[in-house]
Symmetry: C2
Subunit: 309 residues, 2 copies
Amino acid sequence: MGRSDASELAQQLALRMAEYLRRSGLTVGAHLAEQQFADALKVSRTPVRRALAVLADMGVVVQEPNRGYFLRKIPAASVRPALAEGTGLSEERYLRIADDRLAGRIEDHVTETALMRRYAMPRRELQRVLHRMEKEGWVERKPGHGWMFAALPDSVEAHAQSYRFRMMFEPAALLEPGFRLVDSEVKRIRRDQQMLLDGGVHRLSRARLFELGSDFHNTVIGFSNNRFMIDAIQRVNAMRRLLEYRAHYDRERITGQCREHLHLLDLLEQGSRREAAEFMRKHLDVVREQKTGGGRSGNDALNTVTAQL
Amino acid sequence: MGRSDASELAQQLALRMAEYLRRSGLTVGAHLAEQQFADALKVSRTPVRRALAVLADMGVVVQEPNRGYFLRKIPAASVRPALAEGTGLSEERYLRIADDRLAGRIEDHVTETALMRRYAMPRRELQRVLHRMEKEGWVERKPGHGWMFAALPDSVEAHAQSYRFRMMFEPAALLEPGFRLVDSEVKRIRRDQQMLLDGGVHRLSRARLFELGSDFHNTVIGFSNNRFMIDAIQRVNAMRRLLEYRAHYDRERITGQCREHLHLLDLLEQGSRREAAEFMRKHLDVVREQKTGGGRSGNDALNTVTAQL
DNA sequence: TATTGCATTTTGTGCATTCAAGATACACAA
DNA sequence: TTGTGTATCTTGAATGCACAAAATGCAATA
């Protein structure tokens, strides 16, 4: 499936394009201009072309001589795993290291080559992974040689921390002066959440569920146009992925969350931003309690004083 | 000054050690054990030893055969520039690129080698700089070749955004359940702020003033022990350094800020965290108005709703 | 006129080698 | 026993070259 000789970038692009074709309701037979994809994906036509070749191999598009590529059939959700295979290598390694670290199988201080040996990966790739982890804030280079893992709070405490943080800034994001809904995006996340309600919750993989959930918050906070908040939500999500990847997922609860997400969108589209902000806060508070086993409110001081500020 | 043959790391360490010796009131003649510094600085004894050699060259410490190094005189503030010289190269380049970009002299999309040529620096170093900028969130790798600069909001708007963000989470940080003062740190920042009031404001360089200001907030937020908030304040500071580096610095206003900082510490030491949080919010609000030219409150919705939540 | 197909140029990565310098181990002095 | 002096081992950065593939320019075609 999907050309083993295609470059990694091409694989990635193929995946993203398939995703795009599936979501953005184009009709079969539509002409797919190379340059447009190139611009949208911030690359040149060359890798786009390769990606289209991959998709052609899978029967998603057809190439007509001198006329380019045309959509042949809307790609099924099943193209995902097939394509992700090619791109997943590095991701897999990332997860393996993350897993080992979270399980305490890696010391606080490690040398680069020790990791290279242990995971049998070339230095370059390891460095990429480490840089990613560094960006996510849980490893640091030591001044001299080697890397240092940050002491992670246990996962319950980490969750509690992240939700307290989110309860502060996510509602605030909705009230930013620069807040502007983008219709196409609203449509997209609304459709996703609705899809989850229509059975998706039980059908999709955990990773996918996580992705859709964080994408929702990402997108909404994105409307604020405040780069600090956008940044913050992305970092929180990165950490959450780490913590929740293997955590228990209560699918019933997700259903409830989807309803709340949809309601939030309703409020925003009505222009009731204050109500929306308040609703967001409650939404997060509920999730927090679920994740952290709750107590009754976890942080009385916070709630009280938040009421004062 | 200070051994041109010392490695860069050694120079850095020498700088940090000098700083430490100056602050942490050791008495002349004190024995400086290598291993302690090594542990504190997260490196092996080798570079520490080199750094000590540098400091010996400058007359700050003396080496006695088979007994190690001893403090000879408390390093004056003037050692800073002398030592920083060695470490400043990369920093200087970083600032030059940052400057060019902020002034609009660099396009949104750039290729790596184009930058290499333009700034006449080796790839490795350029990449380090770019990675740093990436961590700070204002450049990204493109999927294929090249880098892409994020569209920065103009500096007034960026300031406004950052302060709105900070007004949300900094007060909240003071109310975190895990909030614990660390006496030695409190002492340190109190002394720094006091020093500023005692004339430092007029004596020190802008860069140094900035550093002391952000160090204050860093430290205080650090007491929260909430890694998300600690992370957030660091990112905000990185961006502020960028924006303010060349900005106008009103030294009189800084005096006022120092007083507020000291008052905040008083409140915290009395255990009045709620009052402290409220005070912090006002403190930031005042600074925000100064920086952004203000209007009367910039964001009524925020203030009002904050009052509700 | 816009877009494809293809050829050419340019870029950045991979890899092997080399070397400065950071980490480590151990003998010896205080 | 603790900490220095020093020799040895190991690490990771620098360098140069070859190559895959991304960017770009241009003729051909709908």
